[in-house]
Every structure is written in C-alpha cells, then in structure tokens.
Symmetry: C2
Subunit: 749 residues, 2 copies
C-alpha cells in the first residue's frame, strides 16, 4: 500500500486547520450572540423558565445516555479481543495491534458520542441565548437586527457541526492510517447513537408537551396558544429547543460524520486496490472546501436583500438565506473541480461531488413544492378543510405518500450517476461513487443547520413575546421571522432525510464490502464466501421483510410514546388548573413541574426504542447470518426512508395548510375550515416531529451496529456463546416491545 | 423427464371432477337463493335501483377492460414470435411449437381474464339476489333463515372461485405438460389484471359514492345514513356490491390461481431436476382435497349453534362460521398427510401444506386482536376519541403500523419453516416450499370468500331495510347480521393480504428461477449469467428503491382518485337537493344519475393506475436489466405488503371503534366522542376499502408482467427496438402520472 506523500500530509493538516477555523468562527458567533441586549425583565423571567427547563432536560438525558454509553464502551473494548485485528492493523502496529485497536476504537467511540452530545447541548444553549435576544430586538422594532441574531445563533450550531465532524474524521485517519476502519466505525457509532437518543427523547418530549398542553389549554379550557395561565406552556417552549435544536443538531452532525466514515472505509479498499491515495484525501479536502464555502456563504446573507444587480436581489429573508446557500454551492463545486483537476487528475470525483451538492440544492424547490402554500399540494389540503377534518387528513396523507416517491427518485438519480460514471468497473467504484455523492450533499451542512436552527429560535422568540405581552409592531416582526423559520425548517429537514438515506446506503455498501474482508481474514472457505446480498434466497427474503417491518414498528411505538407522555402532561395541567387562582391568572402555575414530568416520561420511553433498534438487527444476524442481516439493512433503508419522508412532508404540509388559513383565508381563525386545519396539524405534528425524524439516526444505528457485529457473527456462528448472546438479545427485545406496547396512560395508575 | 403414470393421470382427472363438483354446488346455491321470497314491493323498488346501478357499473367496467385486454391479447400472441419457445415446448410440439405456445398462452390469458370476470360478475349478481331475500326474511322475523340465505349466497362465490381456479390450472397443465409455464403465466396474468381493474374501479367507486353522499347528506344537510332523500344513497349501496363483492371475489380468485401457477412453475423445475412427478400432482390434489373440505365445512355451519358437545358449541353465527372453517382445515390437513404418506412418500409436503392451512387459521385471532373492540388496540382508539379527532386518527395510524409488523412476522414463520425443512438442499426446494405454504393458505378459499361476501350482503340488506322502512324487530335482526359481517369481512381481508404476499413471494421466486432458464436458453455466456437478485449492486439498489416507492405512489394516487370522484358526487347530490321537493321527501331523487356519474369517474381513474402498475416495472427492466427488475419486485412486495396491512387494519380498527361508541359507549351516537369516531372512520375508509385492497392485485400484476417480459428484456437488451419500447412506456408512465396528479375537482370545470 502506498503511503501518503508529504504534500498529501500537508493537505490533511490543512483540513485540520479548516476544522479549527470553523470552530473559532463558531466561538465568535457565540460571543457575538451573548453581547446583545436581553430585553425587559418580564421577558427574561419567561426565558429563564425555558432555559432552566431545557437545561434540566439535557442533564437528565445525559444521565440516561451515560449508563448505556458506559456499557457499550466496555463491550466495544472487549469485542476486539473476540475478533482478531485486521491485517492492516497488524502491519501498522505490530504485536501491539490488539490493544491499539481496542483503545483506538473505544476512544473513537467516546469522541463520537461526546462530539454529538456537544453539538446538541451547545447548539441548544446558544439557540436559547439567541431566543431572548431576538425577542428583545423585535421589541425595539429592529427587524434586521433580530434576523441577524437569529441567523447567527443558528450558524453557531452549523459551524460546530462542521468543525467537530471534520476534525474527528481526519484526525482518526491521520492516526490510524490504513487501519482506520475499526476506529472510524467506533466514531460513527458513538455519534449516531447519541443522535438517536436525542432525536427520540427530544421528539417525544416536544410533542408530549405540545399535545398535552393544547388538549387541556385549547380544547378543554378554550385558552389561546402560549397562554401564561397554562402550566404546560413552558414545557411546550422547552420542547421546541430540545427537539428542534438539540435533537436536530446531533442528528445532522451524525449524518455529516457518517458520510465521512463510509467514504473513508470504501476509499481505503480502493486505495488498497489501486494504490492511489486520492480516494482518501480528496473527500476530506472537498469537505474542507465546503466548510470554507459555508463560512463565506453565511457572510453574504445580509448582502442579498440590497444587491445592486436586480436579477439576483433577494425579495425576503428566506430568499437571502437560499441565495447564500447557492453561493456556497457554486464555490464548492468550482474549487472541487479545480482540485480534482490539478491533484487527483480524476474529473469523476468532482462530478460526483457536484451531483451531491446539486441534489441538496434541488431538494429546496422539491420540498417547497410539497409544503409551501404557494403550490398545489398544500392548496389542495386547504381546499379539503372545507369538508372537514377527515378529508383534510386524507389529503395530507396523500401528499406525504406522493412526496416520498419523488425523494426516492432524486436519490436514484444520485445512484444512477455513480452507476453511469463507473459502468464497467468493479462494483466497489460505484459504491464509492455513492459515498462521494453523500460527501457533496452534506458539504454545506453549515448553512443547512443555520437555516434549520433559525426556525426554533424565531419560534421561541415569538413564544416569549406572546407570554410576556409585547406591542403590536413587535409582534408583527416576530410573526414574520417565525413564518420564514417554518419554511427553512421544513426544507432542511428534507435535506437531512435525503442525506441520511445516501449516508445509510453508503454504510450498507460498506457492510457488503466489509463482510467480504472479514470472511477472507477469518479464513472462511471460498465456497461458503458471501460477497453480495441476495434477496432471492430465503434467508435474504426473511431478513428483508423483517428489516422493512422495523421502521413501521418503531414509528408505531414512537407515536404511542407521545400519547402516553401527553397523558401525563394532561393530568398535571388539569391538576394545576384546579388550583384556585391559576385559571384567573392570579397565581403563576408551577411550570417546572410539567417540565420535569415530561422530561421523566420522555426518558422512560426512549430506552425501549433504542433497545429495539439495536437488538433486532443483531438477533437477525445471529439467527440467519450475515447475508440475511445485509438484506435486513436494505429493508430498513427502503421502508425507513419512505416512511420518514412520508411523515415529514405530510406533517409539514398539514402545518402550512393550517397557517395559510390562519393568515385569513377560508374565514381565518375560528372558522370551521380553521378547525379542520388545526386538527389536521395535530395529526401531522407527531409524524413530522417525533416518528419521522427519529427514523434518520435509527437507520444509521442499525447499519453501524451491523457493521460492528458482522465479524463476530461470522466468526462465532453456531457456537454456544453466540446463541447465549442471541437469547439475551431476544429477552431485551421482548422487554422493549412490552414496554412500548404498554397502555396509554398505564403509568398513571 | 419422467411422464405422469396412468394413476397420476387419473388423479388429475379426479381433480377436474372435484372442480366440476364445486361448480355444480355453486349452481345449486344460486338456484336455492333465487327460490326465496323477495319481500314487499317497496323493498323491491329500492333493490331494483341497486341492481340496475351495480349491473350498469359492471357493464361499463367490462367495456373499459375489454379494450385493454384486446390490446394485450395481441401483444401476448406476438410476443411468442419475439422470443423463441422453450426447449420443453419444442420437445413436446415439434416444429409447431411456436404457434402452439402463442395460441396456448393467448387462450390461457383469455381464460384467466374471463374466469376472473365471471367470478366477479356472477358473485356480485348472486349477492344482490341475496340482499333482497335476506331483507325479506328479516321482515318475516326469521333470523335463521336470513342468516342461511346470506351465507349461502356468499358461499356461491366461494365455490365458483374454487371450481374455476382449480379447473383452469389443472387443465392447462394436462394439455401442455412440461411446456405449461408459458400458458400458466398467461392464465395468471389474465386473472390478475382483471382483478386489478375490478379492485381499483370498485374501490374508487364505493368510496367516492360513500364520501360524496355523506359529505352532502350527513355533514351539510344533517340527514341520517341511508336516507332516501339523499340522491347519493343508492350509489353508496351499489358501491358495497361493486367494491366488496365483485372486486373482492375477482381478487381472491386471482390469488387462488396465482398460487397454483407459481407452484406449478417451480414444481416443473423440480420435476426436471429430480424426475419425481409428485411436485406437480401433489399440490393440485391437495387443492382438490381443500375444495371438498370447504364444501363439507359449509354444510356444518348450521350445526354448531346447537352442537350436542358443549365444549364445541358456537355462541353465535360468527363463531359457527369459524367453527366450520376449522373443520375444513382439520380435514384437509389430515387427508393431505395421508396422501403424502401413501403417494409421494414425502411428509415435508404435507407439513408445508399444514403450515399454510394453519397460518390462515392463525390470522383470525391476530386480525381479531387488532380490529375487534374486545381487545386493547381498538379500546385505545375508543379512549382517544375523548380527546378529539386528531388523537383518534393518530391511534388508528399507530395500530395499523404495528399490526403490519405482526403480519410480516407470521409470513416470516412460513418462510422459516420452508427454510428449516429444506435446509442444506439447493435453494429451489425452499422456494417451492414457500409456494406450497401458499397452496395451503388458500386451500379454504371457499369458506373465506363465503364469509367475506356475507359481509356486504348483510350490509346491503340492512340498507334496503333502512330505505324501505321496516319494523323495529326486523331492523334488529338486520343490524345483528350486519355486525357479524363486519368482523368476518375484516378477518378475511387480512387472510387475503397475507396470502397475496405469499403468492407474490412465490411469483418472485419463480421470476428468479425463470430468468436463469431464459438466460440458459438464449445462450448468454456463463460469466454474465444472473442467477440471483442482489441488492448490493447499484442496479439492484436503484431497482429496489423504485420498487418500494411504487406502492406509496399508487396509494397516494388512489386516495386522490377517491377525492376527485367524491367531488363529482358532491356536486350532483347538491344539485338534486336544490330541486324543489327533494329535501322534503315529496320528489324521488334521480338515483341513477349519481350512479352513472360515479361509474364514469371510477372508470376514468382506474386506467392511469393500471398503466402505472404495468409501465414502471417494464421501464425499470429495460433501463436497468433483469436483476434490477428482480430487486424492484422485492421492493414492491416489501412496501406493498406493509402498506396494505397498515391501511387495512388502521381502517378496520377505526371503523370498529366508531361502532363500539355507536353501541352506546362514551355517550353513544351524537356525543363528541362519537363525532371523533365518525371522522376517524372517514379517514380510515378509503385506506381500507380503496388503497389497501388494490395493492393486492397490483403486487401480483407487477410480478407477472415482469415474468412475462423477462425473456424479451434479456434477449433484446441494448437493441434499438427495446429502447423504442422504453420510450413508449415512458410516455405512458408520464401520461398516467399526469392523469393521477390532476387537481381534485379539476374535471368539474
């Protein structure tokens, strides 16, 4: 195997420097946010309640996670002793290979988990700091300043994601070289697992609080949204932060790093085959180019609304954000082509990257088509509110189902391009090509996360304003900021799902490549060698069917978890309304009590969902072997992706249909059409905020667990030990299913 | 290859005789139904309107179908000239092979299509004859007699299905022998295609009429269900017949024959390999045993409510029907074991059959668990009606998603048993084993269809009673019959889906086996030989992603078709309400006008859905070749099965939750909980009656089209002709998608 040249070493150090620049920029954004004014005391009072609640939630979540993470750290460390280290590791580290790999993988796992946690925790904290300051600027009636703060606080998370993801992946490769896959898997798994925790926990929390507060406040008592007399209202605002900020940030970080992980794993195989080092260096450098482009792009945001050339001038804040996104994209594509031309002498790589970048851009109009009230789908939902809730929900379901297909088509185009470029070569090239598309798609994670975080920040500022009672003009500013946030949030959610699928598909291909290597290393006889995943053999069919079923089960359980959680909130809010003075607004409700009840409920629910996602694939692998497990992964990706998009878009479209009516159409607020719209939105909410987004990290956790377990499954198949492990997993699975199938409200008794 | 012995020839003649007995029994049931009294003139008046409407619908549908069928007949005939006949055909028919195969396949296609049409048409006509007579017996207050008529009229369709399916499959094998696969595929395709037409058309019709009539009658005017002043009410009653009777009967017939087709195709390969003829003879004889058991079983129905042994005594009509089903099952399993023991000397075959029979029995409690108000899932939906429509719908969605997983598990057990029995043998044994399980699952189609048809018959009798205004006591009898029908209908629908999946899986395996044979015949070099379907190569991934997407697109379009159709009904019913005297009940509305408008709308919609199901797989095959097409099939089966069960169960559970409240719980009719229940049911209705059931035949049409096209795709890959065909298909696909995406209510302008 060829080693990296000095120039290439230098390039990698350059990547590290870019990662650090990104982190420094993030730090600057943070300081800048903190410097701003925090507004009136009344607003700060509301805000402190939100802040305390959200931070309390994250502390509690950390406690839950830490136990699982410690167990897994031990298992991961020991697992290296079960399976001999790779040939490459022995070559590189000699007789110390085992201990080096054990420590390396374990530390990489811890780093992955910590980075993911950091992105989620810090991202949310800065967003919360932003909330109050955006509200304060709105009160001072400074629209531009409010917008800037909201966007900058969001950009913080974006830059943190970029910096940590790039830093981790590159550093691991530099330390382990060709023996990196082991550690990379640990890194990816750590990040993904934490993201799964935060997505599920945050998703359940936010919707349990929302539904619970609304059911008692709006439905039973007829109070408006965000009314301070409602004890659940702070929990609801906290939910926006823990779900949309912390959960989302950890999730996108995980996609960002997983695409690096799978590209490097496949790239190392190609490097081994061809002796070319660019398979590794190119994607890392391109990611660094993407980070620089992202930073430049975010600087241009304020420019577009007053751009001298009228053709390019942005009409509103939303367009300005997208314009900056497009600037970053053009910049990255250009420099990636330059770099491929002068360094790798392979235009194909740059083209694949460009396709990925382009796909992320294409997803904007695609999602916008299905979720914006300007286009036919949402208009049809709005029309159907005339005839009641049932037709509204059905329209939403149809829109969601249809949109999932168009996303699949876009992804197939990505795969098709890779297929065409590397036609006639051995399949590994095509698989690598798909991973490169993934690199491109997430190149501008910085901008994406910035736009995505902007949403909940504006939303919360709005909520603070509502609760603290601000003036008419301030309210109008916040409402406008909020409306922009809704669109950017919906769109970036879609990009997150699409890139999750591409990332998962690359992981799946890594799995296929990996089991071949593992079998060779373990000396499995050629005749029994499995080199591909066939669904036309019976084990494959069984694996495939079970894999496809998992996302349905997972979603069903996530929805039930929300219902169960909401029941706790309902009980507590009802109890507080019975306290004399609360309903009259004379006594402040105990907001924190609802917050802590919701937190406890979400933590209780998430463990069984995580166990389900980890135990089922392992069990399939143990019983039906690695080929069935591969088919299982294919099934999970297929139905997981379709369901995730279906739920996200159905929810988003229903939400915007409601908002359109609230803007005064079809009789506006209080009309029968509005009622149907509100109920439709309530159906869509847990779909788009809990079940749908949690599928992203779930798909990847399943893939990474399988990658990590494959060597053990191959080596110990049929042994007593593995059957014992299988029985333990079965017991865990049964426990998880029983937990998740508990009666709604059972815990209340 | 070994020829059949004289004894075996005799056995096959025996199977033909059993098929004829089944048809004679069906004829007797028909005559018996016609002999009964038709009740009062007022009832007959209502009934004649339904009868005219339903028959008009079927005539119109036949016209639509015939055009497509004629085109396909020509294409099928000519296709034989494009691909040389199989080696077996040349051996058997010498130089006439081409023309014999061309004529044989074409005639088999016509027979398949005609049989499917016959089952649908006659089944519905006899059901309609039954409707009025059940109502008449109820008016005479004779519960038992009413029950007997309803069950017998339903059994007619069951016996017709058995007789024609068995006759066709066996006769084709006897004529073509080892060259049968060509003709069998034609037979299967004809039946399946007609079933797809009838399921989609009937499904759209029934829900468009239902939703349209309800929206104006119930929601706008506040009239009760089945009120004679509502112009849409007859169309609604017609819908029960064309959807639940005709569509369902054609669909189950198609499953019945397709399991025979796939078993014979795989059996012929095994016969070729092993020289044993029992691979062919056994499944046919077992099906004949099943038919005899079914007949015996239906005779025992009246016995169980007064059975001397208390332990076995049935508590109600529902239990009596299931008891008879179990009797048939035990009988079949016993004789199938005997036969395998004394004839084939292979206990494995009997075990596989027993597993299939057992699975069909197991599906009863499983479905009952998810859809009966006695168990937790529906109870939870009922609970959630307390907090409004949104929580009700969400509960329904969660129940549906969860149930789909348990069905997958049951199917995996079927596959697992086959895997265990034939472990270590070449894969073809396992694939055949799965097909044998399918033979077992549909052995008692007679009883199944009887129970399923019973549902709409009782429902319609109820509707006739309501419109003609019968007495209190008669009403109670009809309501009870109707309630039993709802449960049996839900359960048999589930068996239909499960057997559809097993049938589709066998077809998929036939596809895999078939492409190997085709490649060998065409002299494809060994190195390029495709013998399995890998999802781990890029073409495979693209194929399976697109395949998984098809059921989502199909469902979305089916739901939109219902909405569009309903808008036509709404306009017409509104127009008629404006006619002076209609709302006061003095002028009879023009029921037939609504019927013909709905008929036209349904016909217009179904063509694009059929085109979608046929063009997409062919296009995937042409562009990405046969392996990708195989992966496409796997994707369709996976997501199609999950969606079908999800929608069927969500709809059924929501329906029964509403019924439970109507029985007087949670405040009964008119309470807020009831309102939420009704809206939940309205969401569930198009899911369970249109989109869900149409997926069954769609999955199989896709599989059969692929099987038929595979030789052409392999032989002509890369040629100019095939690309031209591809462009035509693309144009058709674009047309179909544009049609299906038209605005709701667009045609009104």
């Amino acid at each position: 195997m060829t080693e990296l040249s000095a120039t290439e070493q230098g390039m990698l150090w350059g990547v590290i420097v870019v990662a650090l620049i990104s982190l420094i920029y993030a730090y600057w954004l943070w300081r800048d946010t903190l410097k701003r004014d925090k507004g009136t005391e009344k607003m700060q009072q509301v805000w402190r309640a939100i802040k305390t609640g959200a931070e309390g939630y994250l502390r509690r979540q950390l406690r839950t996670m830490v136990i699982v993470l410690i167990c897994l750290t031990v298992i991961l460390f020991l697992s290296v002793y079960v399976v001999p280290p790779s040939k490459e590791a022995v070559e590189r580290f000699g007789q110390n290979a085992v201990i080096v790999v054990a420590i390396g993988r374990t530390i990489a796992f811890i780093i992955g988990a910590s980075f993911s946690t950091l992105v989620g925790q810090l991202g949310m904290r800065v967003a919360i700091e932003g909330n109050i300051r955006v509200a304060a600027e709105a009160v001072r009636e400074d629209y531009n300043s409010a917008l800037t703060i909201a966007y900058r606080a969001g950009t913080f998370t974006g830059m943190l994601t970029d910096g940590l993801g790039l830093l981790g992946g590159t550093a691991i490769f530099m330390i382990f070289g060709k023996a990196a896959p082991d550690a990379l898997l640990g890194f990816g798994f750590g990040g993904t697992l934490v993201a799964l925790f935060m997505r599920i926990g945050g998703g359940i929390y936010t919707k349990a609080a929302d539904v619970g507060a609304d059911l008692v406040g709006k439905v039973e008592k007829g109070l408006p949204e965000d009314d301070p007399r409602n004890a659940g209202v702070i929990a609801d605002l906290v939910g926006d932060n823990v779900g949309d900020c912390a959960g989302m940030a950890a999730d996108i970080f995980e996609s960002y790093e997983v695409t690096i992980v799978s590209t490097l794993i496949l790239g190392l195989v190609l490097l081994h085959m061809t002796g070319n080092t660019f398979w590794i260096v190119y994607p890392l450098v391109v990611r660094a180019i993407g980070v620089i482009s992202s930073i430049l792009g975010t600087f241009t945001v304020p420019m577009w609304e007053n751009f001298p050339l009228k053709l390019l001038r942005a009409r509103d804040a939303e367009e300005a954000m997208f314009r900056s996104y497009e600037v970053s994209s053009v910049n990255t594509v250009f420099w990636a082509f330059m770099f491929s031309w002068f360094y790798a002498h392979e235009w194909q790589l740059a083209l694949l990257n460009a396709v990925g970048v382009g796909l992320a851009v294409v997803f904007n109009p695609l999602t916008s088509y299905f979720t914006s009230y300007k286009h036919r789908p949402v208009k049809e939902i709005v029309e159907s509110t005339r005839t009641g809730t049932a037709t509204t929900v059905l329209s939403g379901i149809a829109v969601g189902m249809e949109s999932s297909v168009w996303s699949v088509l876009v992804i197939c185009i990505a795969l098709g391009v890779s297929y065409l470029i590397y036609r006639g070569m051995t399949p590994i090239y095509m698989l690598y090509g798909v991973a490169m598309v993934g690199i491109g798609m997430l190149s501008h994670t910085g901008n994406n996360v910035a736009m995505d975080s902007y949403g909940p920040i504006a939303d919360n500022a709005n909520g603070i304003g509502e609760m603290a009672g601000v003036g008419e003009r301030a309210w109008a500013i916040m409402a406008e900021l909020d409306a922009v946030g809704n669109t950017t949030k919906a769109i970036t959610k879609q990009v997150a799902i699409a890139s999750a699928v591409v990332a998962a598909t690359s992981l799946f291909f890594s799995y296929v490549t990996d089991i071949s290597l593992v079998q060779a290393r373990l000396g499995i006889p050629e005749t029994e060698f499995i080199t591909s995943i066939r669904v036309s053999v019976l084990e494959g069919t069984i694996g495939f069917l079970l894999g496809g079923a998992l996302p349905f089960l997972f979603s069903a359980f996530a929805l039930r978890a929300v219902s169960r959680g909401a029941m706790f909130v309902v009980e507590e809010v009802r109890r507080q309304f019975r306290i004399p003075g609360v309903l009259e607004g004379k006594v402040t409700p105990e907001y924190d009590k609802v917050v802590s009840i919701t937190t406890a409920a979400a933590q209780k629910e998430l463990v069984s969902l995580v166990v389900l996602s980890v135990a089922l694939p392992l069990l399939v692998g143990i019983v039906f072997q690695v080929e069935a497990l591969g088919a299982f992964l294919a099934g999970v990706i297929l139905s997981g992706q379709l369901l995730a998009v279906y739920m996200a878009i159905a929810g988003g479209a229903l939400d915007n249909a409601k908002k359109y009516i609230e803007d005064g159409h079809l009789g506006g607020k209080g009309s029968p059409a509005h009622k149907a719209g509100v109920e439709g939105d309530t159906v869509g909410d847990p779909l788009k905020d809990t079940a749908g987004p949690a599928l992203n990290p779930m798909i990847k956790v399943v893939n990474l667990v399988s990658l990590l377990a494959a060597p053990i499954i191959v080596q110990y198949r049929g042994s007593a030990g593995i059957w014992v492990a299988g029985l333990i997993l079965l017991a865990m699975l049964v426990w998880a299913i029983r937990q998740s199938r508990k009666d709604v409200g059972e815990g209340l008794a």
